[in-house]
Symmetry: C2
Subunit: 271 residues, 2 copies
């Protein structure tokens, strides 16, 4: 049953300080990837956190957590893949799950367990839908066959997939969020739910930012139609939030490269 | 802002009766699909529910909910896709989100908001991981390029995708859950977390059941290795739970056909 305990990130690398138990983000260094919505939530809240992306041996921490012989610890099962969040004695994985947890802890979602608790499920729904369509499906345009193969080994299939994505899937998801923002339940503009800023707004911002990097031509064309003005308004509003803005301008914001969002001009032109 | 309100499923079709507010499941009739883990959870709990799969005009209810001009209602945003759960005034979508909600309501997960609340995030993590690997990735073996194309239009790519799935992805996910079950946090056998039956066990059962239907040869070979005995033990234990067993033997359990889990012998043989 025993397996080597993954190393705890050193406290010397804490990004900010306050009185809360620090959050430890464990994710591949070198790409924003599926760690980025988590970083943005932590930054927006001014939370204290460590990040393996900022550590010399960060990669080793990640691989220890997902090693084939890691069976977790007495309280926590192992993770299949990063991102992983360690907070006190809790170790959890799966991006939407980590966001759900942080939404509660950092007051970026309605709280479970009080009268408005059902709103937490609506925020979770919106985050899951953004991640499905604008993160996972965007990733799959350059890896439609398998994550175990390189892009070059599936570039023909990627062209077909990207064509469908640009023509149908991307407008479908953008149209969905425009519709959410038009709906009464979104409340006052520019936010997705109940006129209140939540982590779902951050997720939609980050997803659209990644898609803009990967498919600048396709996103530019969608913007020109004017059919998604509320989505782009939300994007701009998140980007201008003071803590998010400061983070985006800092060295902690990693550049897009070979992660979820990749810019292959032939895929952007495929639509 | 206004859009036609989707019809409420008629109460005459309620599957069972008790004193709780009935749950209304809105999902494509004709396939178990992404509705099935929800049905199993409702059945296990003995909850009162309606199901569009059992209604003559069920398909109409589904399409009304996801219509391009539906902007939701004053409290709830629209859904992108089914499954959708209506419960009292709440309307939520996204399979993992609906399961999270039902887990709390039907006591099939640790409860948020008390001392053991963090366990709810662990159960959510396990369910999300099973759905990622054994539901979504299984679906993608027959639709690697786009859900907007038929299988026949992407059968070549499907062969390549299925080969990778059988050789690498399926054993990876099976190995992960075997590792979870070996770990201390799973507690006493046969359940995934804390020696206590939860909806994550139901999800893993249903996912493996679907994969067995789609890839009988591949699953048979994995079983023969003896490397996944805890996963198969959990599968058998869920299947033998009295309410689940009765449901599986009833007319309400729909047959696999052209949904997430499809049996194409050429894909099963591709590994």
């Amino acid at each position: 049953m025993a397996s080597p305990s993954p190393p705890t990130p050193p406290s010397a690398k804490r990004v900010k300080t306050n009185k809360d138990t620090p959050y430890n983000l464990i994710y591949w260094p070198g790409i924003p990837g599926r760690g980025e919505p988590i970083r943005l939530v932590l930054e927006e809240a001014g939370a204290t956190y460590t990040d393996t992306a900022q550590m010399e041996n960060g990669m080793f921490t990640v691989t220890a957590h997902i090693a084939d012989d890691n069976t977790g610890d007495p309280s926590n099962p192992p993770a299949l893949a990063p991102p992983i969040l360690k907070h006190g004695g809790l170790v959890i994985s799966q991006l939407s799950n980590i966001l759900l947890y942080l939404g509660q802890r950092l007051h970026l979602a309605p709280r479970f367990g009080d009268g408005a608790g059902d709103g937490a499920y609506i925020v979770n729904q919106l985050a899951l839908t953004a991640l499905d369509g604008l993160s996972d499906e965007t990733h799959d345009t350059h890896h439609p066959i398998s994550v175990g193969l390189t892009y070059e080994e599936q570039s023909e299939e990627s062209l077909r997939c990207a064509k469908e994505y640009v023509a149908n899937r991307l407008p479908k998801f953008m149209g969905y969020f425009e519709r959410v923002l038009k709906g009464e339940a979104s409340g006052e503009r520019p936010w997705l739910y109940n006129g209140t800023f939540s982590y779902a707004d951050i997720v939609l911002f980050q997803c659209l930012d990644g898609v803009k990097y990967a498919f600048p031509r396709a996103v530019g064309q969608l913007k020109k139609t004017g059919d998604y003005e509320r989505v782009f308004e939300l994007y701009d509003a998140v980007k201008q939030r003071p803590r998010i803005k400061a983070y985006l301008e800092s060295h902690r914001r990693q550049k897009y490269s070979m992660g979820i969002y990749r810019h292959y001009p032939e895929l952007d032109d495929a639509g």
